[in-house]
């Protein structure tokens, strides 16, 4: 069966000639991917597999680098580089830190 990301040849509307300057956080996500690849902690196939495993509605509503950071994080969890506990704690701390600014 055709998967959601495999959209070549399907009907679609006009190409919206949209562009934006990448935000710093998006460039950092890209940097994470490159640094982790160089250190053999992430293969492009893993990134792809974890992007392609996103539920169709998530795939469509998440922005490009949101899909990437989600897939990078998933790969690191799968490889045991990070645990979901430490990630959850770190994210809660950052949210608290930001809320207190």
């Amino acid at each position: 069966m055709r998967q959601h990301h495999d959209m070549g040849g399907l009907p679609a509307g006009p190409v919206a000639r949209q562009e934006h300057d990448y935000a710093l956080w998006e460039k950092r996500v890209d940097a994470l991917m490159m640094l982790l690849s160089q250190r053999q902690l992430l293969r492009v196939d893993e990134l792809r597999r974890n992007i392609e495993a996103l539920a169709p509605d998530a795939y469509d509503t998440m922005s490009y680098y949101e899909r990437w950071i989600s897939a990078i994080t998933q790969t690191l969890l799968q490889r045991g580089v990070l645990t979901s506990d430490e990630l959850g704690r770190a994210m809660a701390e950052i949210e608290a830190r930001e809320a207190g600014r």
């Binding site: 070549g8 009907p11 919206a16 460039k27 890209d30 950071i69 430490e86 959850g88």
Partner: protein, 216 residues
């Protein structure tokens, strides 16, 4: 956003139908995925996987890549027939002569002529010759472009203002993670004797993707 939702396997919350507000609607607040980026980066720095300096340098290197690099390759090919031949035979090795490393990717250069036009796409994701063109524009990654570039490429080209005659063959190249394409556009008429620098200034990103042609 309550943090308890995210303590178990935060990367998979999207499977639980849990919607996150898009970044644009809350400019002062960090989005869920921005928080995730910070958390992952800080944890990896704490674990000495890399240093903060490495991230900064990687971002700088990314900022330094733009279509001017691809344009330099094209202008060299237009002015140096031997280089052009090497570029078409082995893109990866030829661009290395100009100091551009393709990392783990193989570069394939496809040449436009009066009778042949090439267009590149990545139907499955967003593979792009980023070492030579920088990060891809949003539309390259869009559903519409990815779906239609292989179904009705002439209609897509028309939307970019490129109308091909019926006698022009059109080849669409679907990129992969390991194989990246670059279009070598046709050199515009009336540029005989131009310097490489002057020619390079004519070569925009879109004509190296193949959605447009180069014009004087």
């Amino acid at each position: 956003m309550s943090s308890d939702v995210h303590t178990h396997d935060p990367a998979h919350d999207h499977r639980h139908g849990h919607a996150h507000p898009p970044h644009a609607e809350a400019p002062e607040r960090l989005s869920y995925y921005q928080v995730m980026e910070i958390a992952v980066r800080e944890l990896l720095i704490a674990k000495s996987v890399f240093a903060a300096e490495d991230v900064r340098r990687a971002v700088e290197a990314m900022d330094a890549r733009d279509p001017a690099q691809g344009a330099r390759v094209v202008a060299r090919a237009w002015t140096d027939p031997a280089f052009r031949a090497r570029l078409l035979a082995d893109g990866t090795a030829a661009v290395r002569e100009l100091g551009y490393e393709m990392a783990t990717f193989r570069l394939l250069v496809v040449e436009n002529t009066a009778k042949l036009h090439n267009l590149i796409v990545c139907t499955l994701c967003s593979c792009y010759p980023r070492m030579l063109l920088g990060l891809p524009p949003d539309w390259y990654k869009s559903r519409a472009y990815r779906s239609r570039a292989v179904r009705e490429p002439r209609a897509v080209l028309k939307e970019f203002g490129t109308v091909l005659g019926d006698d022009v063959e059109l080849r669409v190249h679907d990129s992969t993670a390991d194989m990246r394409y670059l279009v070598l556009p046709e050199r515009p008429a009336g540029t005989e004797g131009w310097s490489e620098e002057r020619l390079a200034a004519l070569v925009g990103r879109d004509c190296m993707i193949g959605v447009t042609r180069c014009h004087v």
